[in-house]
Homo-oligomer: 413 residues x 2
């Protein structure tokens, strides 16, 4: 299960500061992996506001069901995440496992099971034995410390080749607050929402409904615009916790997502989510290149997004990028199959700064050499101009390589 | 461009008999390929009825546009097909190329340009110079002979590793008629309709509207239920010609698709189309295994088809099959992402005759060995029972291998 680190990994990892009010612990529970951490616990010593968005799969995992239920309360005191087993398609035993885990976590964190949030990632369909790790939670809750974000990101990895971390600062009414985030990919990545687990926390004091509204808005251009292989997981979970500890430093409590004092915070949240989402795309299984598809001039933003996803998900476009081939014919194909309005004779296509096609045919000034030079980069921007309206969207994906096939051809065994 | 012949190729190729009234010729025009035929001409000495179905791409090729226009007349006298260049996304020059080709073919076959049908397959976006082959058509029309179906199938191949041919016989009112068909794949195969070129002909006497109605019906469970890589081509073309020569042997002229005398013919047509469609799937680029996905118990046939396509198109399912891994968790994922109604706790999944999951969890009697034995076969049947209604559909696809990535990573160069 060890894979070469993606060539698109960040040159350096952000150092995440503590979020006051949130403590972290990890452990080696041996659920599937050996000699690595596979269990994460976050503890909120005071009730934190919580927001979440989840997979739209019709067959969600048991932990997703539990989170959806507990989200109604709006308050979190503990988060437990395991890697190695997704606890998905595990029927009654799956529900029993989440119930047992939530009860053990509640006991450890001195709270109600309804204030516990769970996530699991890994193999689907294998029963998850909560007994393998439930007994560890009380020790973890006791030993948890504020300064362990990097360890948290490492404990939730599956086929990821690097941990995904990001941090940002924003002022609310003159008081600086922090937002930290971690995420894991790396297969079954597709909207909606992008497959993955991601956990964010801030010390800002924001009520759960406002947090939820901001998260839902920010996820559209970020995690919901990322695709690795068009396969939507049963387990996608993005949770955002607000401890509110910044109140102690004079930060106001915000209850309305439209509050103008959230302007900088909202921008920081959006940038952080996009950063994490792109880290996920750049660590797509077998990825060697990031593909950034922008569609402009569509009939609507929604149409632009559908066309951009059609391009970014096309196996033929993705293999062309892997082969460093500026094959814009396949981009045309992907535009055509998206099912949205398109006028062949108005289409223009760019690879990077090179316009390869215009007005429905090859650009007369097109230089194969210039296009080939673009394709040798690590980030491949593909821009399509439809010339129909003002709809616009950008989607982030990666190439399709032999390594993707190798990784997924023997994952379970 | 030479690839190892697919292990799923037929052990023997059907010998296609002549279709009276239809003559065939092929040539080496050197459009892209060297030392192989790349030009096909079919000539109908008397006007033939013609029906056609085409890609649903919003950016269809110039020949598709021409065929759609000419189909309104209902009569064919000539078909010209080239491989090596798709004449797609070629703007005005593409239209000029089809016009010039149709005029040259009309002259050669002594008919109107509106009675000529064209198809092109190969690279997208490169101008197709009709001058490379238009001058050959008159010689081809003169030398064409009835008994050249295998040569026809070979001339239209691109990355296909074997020619696709099929033949059937059916009685209409006691008179036997023949149906012949050829097809080519092998990438950009996805509904609707499945990417490819396919040409069928019969000596039956069936009016164009009736032929069209029968073709449209027969294409749904066959070519529109095949997928190689979910990428829909700009050029999908299926044409069906009826020369009517069987009239000379007492075969009645049929003008209504609902005519009960067509019963055997309709069945033979459906079987022949399914045969050709499966040959296309089995020669999918890099394919080593055929995947046959059947969804039962869906809310409707349409829902069953969407779920079956979601499974057959999933890169994670396809790579699992390539790795001979009975990874039914990925099947669950693909059911969940299809967007159709599904109740996790009622799902049952079979690989071949082995039930691996039932009632929302792993089948207690599940044998990993038995499932693994199924995965080692060349044909992998995957059956999903939803337990919701009576909707049912079967879709045909293939696995995703490193060879697919290799073939498509350097196709254009």
């Amino acid at each position: 299960m060890t894979h070469t680190v993606s060539p698109l990994a960040p040159a350096a990892f952000a150092a995440l500061p503590a979020i006051p009010g949130l403590r972290i612990a990890t452990a080696e529970a041996g659920i599937k992996y050996k000699n690595r951490t596979d269990l994460l616990m976050m503890v909120f010593d005071r009730p934190a506001s919580v927001a979440g968005v989840f997979t739209r799969s019709k067959c969600p995992s048991a932990p997703v069901d539990l989170c959806r239920t507990n989200l109604a309360g709006g308050t979190a005191r503990a988060l437990v995440v395991n890697s190695g087993n997704a606890n998905a398609f595990t029927g009654k035993r799956g529900r029993e496992s989440t119930r047992a885990t939530a009860e053990a976590a509640a006991k450890a964190a001195c709270c109600e099971p309804s204030e516990v949030f769970l996530a699991s990632t890994g193999v689907i369909g294998e029963p998850l034995d909560a007994g393998r790790f439930a007994h560890l939670l009380s020790g973890l809750a006791g030993s948890a410390e504020e300064d362990r974000w990097r360890a948290a990101a490492e404990a939730i990895m599956t086929t990821d080749t690097y941990p995904k971390v990001a941090t940002a600062t924003a002022a609310i009414d003159g008081v600086d607050v922090t937002i930290n985030g971690i995420a894991k990919g790396a297969g079954m990545i597709a909207p909606d929402m992008a497959t993955m687990l991601s956990f964010l926390a801030t010390d800002a004091a924001i009520a759960a409904p406002a947090l939820q509204a901001m998260l839902r808005e920010a996820v559209e251009p970020s995690f919901n615009s990322v695709t690795v292989d068009s396969d939507t997981s049963t387990s996608d979970t993005l949770l955002f916790f607000a401890t509110g500890d910044a109140r102690d430093r004079g930060c106001p409590e915000i209850s309305d997502a439209a509050d103008p004092r959230l302007e900088a915070f909202r921008a920081a949240l959006g940038a952080l989510l996009l950063d994490l989402a792109r880290q996920v795309a750049r660590d797509g299984e077998g990825a060697r290149k990031e593909i950034i598809v922008t569609v402009e001039g569509a009939a609507s933003d929604a149409a632009a997004k559908r066309i951009a996803l059609s391009i970014a998900n096309s196996p033929l476009v993705k293999t062309a990028v892997a082969g460093e081939d500026a094959n814009w014919g396949r981009v045309v194909m992907a535009v055509g199959k998206a099912g949205e309005e398109a006028d062949r004779d108005r289409l223009a296509i760019h690879f990077g700064e090179v316009r390869v096609a215009v007005d429905g045919e090859r650009d007369p000034d097109y230089s194969e050499q210039a296009a080939s030079a673009v394709m040798q980069r690590a980030e491949i921007p593909i821009k399509v101009e439809l010339g129909l309206g003002s709809g616009r969207w950008t989607v982030y994906g990666c190439d399709l390589t032999k390594e993707y096939v190798a990784i997924n051809g023997d994952y379970r065994s």
